[in-house]
């Protein structure tokens, strides 16, 4: 899967494909449409350029329906195709912030940039983007009426099995693998960003904190990922990191699915780090070479050091997934990001082949009334806190743009 110019496919000309593609290409309006505006007419209604014209056509394809949720960042509407009201969508209208002086916000740019490029069954599809004349951006997303994984985890009336967990974690990992294969870090994986489609498929959403892999010398911000799902290297202010940060989050979501409560629910960053030390082990040079050189690393008291948890420890905390399952979970929760399993390694693990087999997506447990939940989930800005403050899972939201590298 490496990007190799030696791969014949990589070098194969796209000419052939372009022919098919050109038909779909809509930049060029039909001649008749361009000319339809007769000489001498007032042209106040005529688009200024071809791009605006295309945008208007796109906008006309959809009808906005009832509001599903509203936050400070976006309003989410239920919508449908003008020509076919049974084709449902969620239309996320990103609010234009008159106070924000720097133009289109970084959250909006990131979300649109990456969703436009990533097309995968386990990533929320972006069907269209259009703007209204008042400069609001509208994202036409797949309608996902069954809520999110957090709802299922928390609802005591919902029962689910290991086979179900296997299906969900599998779908999540495939989404993450695809992001990483495309050079994209998600940086905010958590249960309420995992929405559930009508057919049971899990869809990774909210790319407001995503970014492309950095060039080797380029710094990145460590102020990402919601606290409970954030890996130790980010608490130590690592400025160079990889897909391993997302894999830690996958591990914590996996653990949460099993426990039916957050695995490590810290109230503050310091508390979170303590919980990591207790549950996983204290990060030290011998289990993580180089860790003490990270900017935010503080030496731990000798008498407070917890050795890295053994498989037996994990077996007692997560007895239901068996020793192979525990092995997989442990591989994602390795302190040293260099030794943490990659998405590809996780997908190649023998746990998937072991009994029970993952549940088919159509037969996964579900819960009705997820429409509003989708509205709630999508209205948030990347990493935004729930408004009622119910959860202590703040992502560092004070985005310091100067440090966003």
């Amino acid at each position: 899967m490496a990007a190799s110019p030696l791969n014949p496919a990589a070098a194969s000309p796209n000419r052939q494909k372009s022919n098919g593609k050109l038909k779909a290409l809509t930049v060029q309006p039909k001649q008749s449409e361009v000319r339809s505006d007769d000489e001498g007419d007032s042209n106040d209604d005529a688009p200024v350029n071809l791009a605006e014209k295309l945008n208007n056509e796109e906008k006309r394809k959809y009808v906005k329906g009832k509001k599903l949720g509203e936050g400070t960042y976006a309003i989410v509407y239920k919508g449908h195709l003008r020509t076919d009201p049974t084709q449902l969508f969620a239309i996320k209208k990103i609010k234009l912030n008159a106070e924000y002086k720097d133009g289109l916000s970084m959250d909006a740019i990131r979300e649109v940039k990456f969703l436009q490029e990533l097309s995968h069954p386990n990533i929320i599809p972006l069907h269209s983007v259009f703007s209204t004349r008042d400069q609001n951006l509208n994202l036409v997303l797949e309608f996902l009426p069954l809520g999110d994984l957090e709802v299922l985890i928390r609802d005591p009336d919902v029962n689910y099995s290991i086979a179900d967990i296997k299906a969900w974690v599998g779908m999540l990992t495939r989404a993450v693998w695809f992001c990483h294969a495309n050079g994209v870090l998600h940086r905010d994986i958590k249960p309420n960003n995992l929405l559930i489609a009508a057919d049971g498929e899990v869809k990774l959403a909210d790319f407001g904190l995503a970014r492309a892999f950095a060039d080797p010398q380029q710094n990145m911000t460590y102020n990402v990922i919601t606290r409970w799902y954030r890996p130790p290297e980010l608490f130590f202010k690592a400025r160079h990191y990889s897909g391993a940060v997302d894999m830690w989050s996958v591990g914590t979501v996996f653990a949460e699915l099993i426990l039916r409560m957050p695995f490590m629910a810290g109230n503050t960053d310091i508390h979170q780090l303590e919980l990591i030390c207790q549950a996983i082990g204290t990060p030290l040079e011998d289990n993580w070479p180089g860790v003490s050189e990270l900017e935010g690393y503080l030496p731990f008291d000798k008498d407070k050091i917890t050795p890295v948890r053994t498989r037996a420890d994990y077996m007692s905390t997560f007895p239901t997934i068996g020793s192979v399952g525990v092995e997989l979970l442990m591989s994602m929760l390795v302190l040293d990001p260099q030794k943490r399993a990659t998405a590809k390694e996780v997908l190649e693990h023998r746990w998937w082949a072991e009994q029970p087999r993952p549940t088919e997506k159509e037969r996964l447990p579900r819960k009705a009334g997820g429409e509003q939940r989708m509205g709630e989930d999508l209205k948030r800005r990347g990493g935004e806190v729930e408004e009622d403050g119910r959860r202590g899972d703040k992502v560092a939201k004070k985005l310091d743009f100067s440090s966003l590298r």
């Binding site: 899967m1 990007a3 190799s4 110019p5 030696l6 791969n7 014949p8 990589a10 070098a11 194969s12 000309p13 796209n14 000419r15 372009s18 593609k21 050109l22 930049v27 060029q28 361009v34 505006d37 000489e39 042209n43 106040d44 200024v48 350029n49 071809l50 791009a51 605006e52 295309l54 945008n55 234009l96 008159a98 002086k101 720097d102 133009g103 289109l104 970084m106 740019i109 649109v112 940039k113 436009q116 490029e117 703007s131 209204t132 004349r133 008042d134 400069q135 693998w177 495309n182 970014r211 492309a212 950095a214 060039d215 990145m220 590809k344 997908l347 743009f401 100067s402 966003l404 590298r405």
Partner: protein, 378 residues
């Protein structure tokens, strides 16, 4: 569970929305020019109708498509310089993204509607945001003001066209550059050197060591290989950082084609030998790949030779001064009006908002007639 680079590229917006055949590219530009010519002629006539002193009989002489290209190319070069030189000193990938945004913008817009000087800083600012090199708009404008050509630039002027740019970009912000392919080439080559040294290939390696020695090296000393690769890399990079960005190759070819074209310029023999490794049993495919690479090379070489003809640019600039869309000169005012509509009332019926906007625009136009045109982009 395997993704080839080709599959990934095929789902990218660069391929889906921004790749064209040469003929298609020309026809798009011709249409944009025709569309703008018609609209601007009308707009100028409207403006003249309210101006008693104007000579209504004077011919409205719009730019041709070729003149538009002359201007766009000249400003692309300026944009490259602006981004890379102090005080911005941005990496070429960021500036290259800005240049592609600029070129994509002018596929559907004419310089007669939006003067390149108005658009240029906004594309650079947008690229810093999309490429994770964001700085505050205030800082950006301040740096810009340090340059003679921009000494009066305000944050409002920089940001005003951002929205129309994002719309023209069809809200696709990803630009795929050929640099990764070039790095890949270098790594492959250094890997091959190891093959020769170790006298055997890694598992599944398709060539015999003798073939690598004989065909690829053509009798050259393997120990000199590192140097050859380094030299090719440097030459290719020079083309990727210059001619590739300023020409139309991003619209016409995939990143890997562009890389191979640049490598072919650096060392044709070596590059063709290299292509032989994966394609040696597929003569038809090889012929097709090579034909594409060679066509791309022609475009690169032409762009490399091209020099900005200052006299011609000055002539076109002078001509442009007489055929600009009078309604699009004050972008700051237009942008402010639209934002005001949005902020005033999110629920505002669009028709009402539009009516208000038109009234405001008209009064702004009238004011402009009184006080003379805005200074933006002069």
């Amino acid at each position: 569970m395997s993704l080839t680079e080709d599959t990934l590229y095929a789902s990218s917006t660069q391929f889906r929305l921004w790749s064209f055949t040469p003929e298609k590219l020309v026809s798009l530009r011709a249409e944009t020019n025709a569309f703008a010519t018609k609209n601007i002629t009308k707009a100028i006539k409207r403006a003249r109708a309210s101006d008693e002193t104007d000579n209504k009989e004077q011919k409205i002489d719009c730019l041709t498509m070729e003149e538009e290209q002359t201007l766009i190319n000249a400003y692309c070069a300026q944009l490259m310089h602006l981004g890379q030189a102090k005080p911005f000193s941005l990496p070429v990938s960021v500036v290259g993204t800005a240049v592609q945004f600029f070129k994509r913008f002018y596929l559907s817009n004419s310089p007669m509607t939006y003067h390149p000087l108005q658009i240029l800083p906004a594309t650079l600012f947008l690229a810093t945001k999309t490429e994770s090199r964001h700085m505050a708009l205030k800082d950006f404008a301040e740096r810009l003001r340090g340059l003679t050509a921009w000494k009066t630039a305000t944050p409002d002027e920089v940001i005003a066209p951002e929205f129309i740019i994002t719309q023209a970009l069809r809200f696709s912000f990803s630009v795929r550059h050929p640099y990764r392919a070039l790095s890949g080439f270098r790594l492959e080559m250094l890997g091959l050197l190891e093959v020769v040294r170790a006298r055997r290939g890694p598992a599944g390696f398709p060539l015999a060591v003798e073939d690598v020695r004989g065909k690829l090296l053509g009798g050259r000393d393997p120990e000199a290989w590192g140097e050859v690769v380094q030299r090719m890399h440097e030459t290719a990079l020079k083309y990727l950082h210059g001619a590739a960005l300023l020409s139309d190759v991003y619209f016409l070819y995939a990143p890997a084609h562009i890389t191979f074209a640049a490598l072919h310029i650096a060392d044709p023999e070596f590059t063709e030998m290299f292509l032989e490794i994966p394609l040696r049993n597929k003569p038809e495919l090889k012929a097709r790949v090579l034909a594409t690479v060679l066509a791309c090379k022609v475009v690169l070489l032409e762009a490399e030779k091209r020099r900005v003809d200052k006299e011609e640019v000055a002539r076109v600039e002078a001509k442009l001064a007489l055929c600009r869309d009078p309604e699009k000169i004050d972008l700051v005012g237009l942008n402010r009006a639209q934002k005001r509509d949005a902020a005033e009332d999110g629920q505002l019926d669009e028709k009402v908002a539009k009516k208000r906007r038109l009234i405001r625009e008209k009064s702004a136009r009238d004011a402009e007639d009184l006080f003379g045109p805005g200074l933006v982009g002069k």
